[in-house]
């Protein structure tokens, strides 16, 4: 595909949030930072997009997009962002994907819990362009560092 190289070089972010308003805003924040964005309205759909849906074992030809980053809202009905984080970190295939938790509430115990479970970062909503630019730089840095010595946190 002509020009396909550029497409593939953009990091692919998965945004998970039950709020349509927030999904739209986060999508724009990330596309403005030269990312490709897929959105999901709940944890279940997010897991399917990450190739962890119920047909995981039966559908070997299932094309799974290569997600570089998951950004999920904490408070969602059903599977919370924390539940989703746990599932990602417990899975063999996708535990390496960094997960960012976003929340409108500044609850220290909540933040601690998420970081302990392996969240890369906890960011307060509403997200700003500066938050996303910082994440974008981190993603670039991580990509460049792949194959070199492991960097501790």
């Amino acid at each position: 595909m002509v020009g396909g190289m550029e497409e593939e070089e953009r990091p692919h972010v998965l945004v998970v949030d039950d709020s349509l308003v927030d999904r739209k805003i986060m999508e724009k924040l990330f596309t403005n930072s030269a990312c490709k964005v897929t959105t999901a309205e709940n944890g279940q759909k997010a897991l399917e997009l990450l190739g962890q849906g119920e047909d995981k074992h039966t559908n070997i030809n299932h094309h799974v997009p290569k997600i570089s980053l998951v950004v999920t809202d904490y408070c969602m009905p059903g599977m919370t962002g924390y539940d989703l984080l746990k599932k990602v970190k417990e899975s063999c295939d996708i535990k390496e994907i960094p997960v960012i938790i976003v929340s409108s509430e500044n609850v220290p115990t909540r933040i601690e819990r998420c970081l302990k479970e392996g969240a890369q970062e906890f960011i307060l909503k509403p997200l700003k362009q500066s938050d996303v630019m910082k994440l974008r730089c981190q993603m670039q840095f991580t990509q460049q560092m792949k194959g070199r010595l492991c960097m501790g946190r």
Binding site: S19, L20, V21, K24, I25, L29, K125, K128, Q129
Partner: protein
């Protein structure tokens, strides 16, 4: 003063008063900054989603508070959503009512909740009218070939 300048002046006056009177906060400015040539209707689209979302939430809240036996957790969930979306677009006064509303939910205070619901509705209608007027002015400026002034 030509038509475009007049419209631009009206726009600046209207926008400035919205910020000064607390209807909008910096988050709305952030949204405007996100808009670009690749998505010139971004703000209108987000604001429209907010209107649709809000109307649904207000209806849900009214229904929830009319039940024989009120599920305050459910009421709180709706208010939390409303607080979130209003915060995301910068509708400060709506957001502030939601904060008080949630406290009444915690206390299971029906009267408090009903007062807040009314206030939330009023603030929502106010900000909706003002935003519609603002976005209308924006449209007119663009159609007249002018550029929309940035309010910092």
């Amino acid at each position: 003063m030509d038509a475009v300048s007049q419209l631009q002046r009206q726009f600046v006056e209207h926008a400035t008063s919205l910020y000064r009177e607390g209807y909008l906060d910096d988050q709305f400015t952030q949204l405007q900054k996100l808009q670009d040539e690749s998505n010139p209707d971004f703000v209108v689209e987000v604001v429209t989603l907010f209107f649709e979302d809000s109307e649904k939430l207000l209806n849900n809240l009214a229904t929830a508070l009319q039940q024989e036996s009120i599920d305050y957790k459910q009421v709180d969930a709706h208010v939390h959503q409303f607080k979130g979306s209003s915060s995301s677009i910068g509708a400060q006064r709506v957001k502030n009512v939601c904060v008080v509303f949630r406290n009444y939910c915690d206390e299971k205070n029906l009267d408090g909740c009903l007062v807040c619901l009314q206030q939330a509705k009023n603030e929502y209608l106010l900000v909706r009218n003002k935003l519609e007027a603002l976005l209308n002015l924006e449209q007119q400026i663009l159609q007249a070939g002018g550029s929309v002034p940035m309010i910092t």
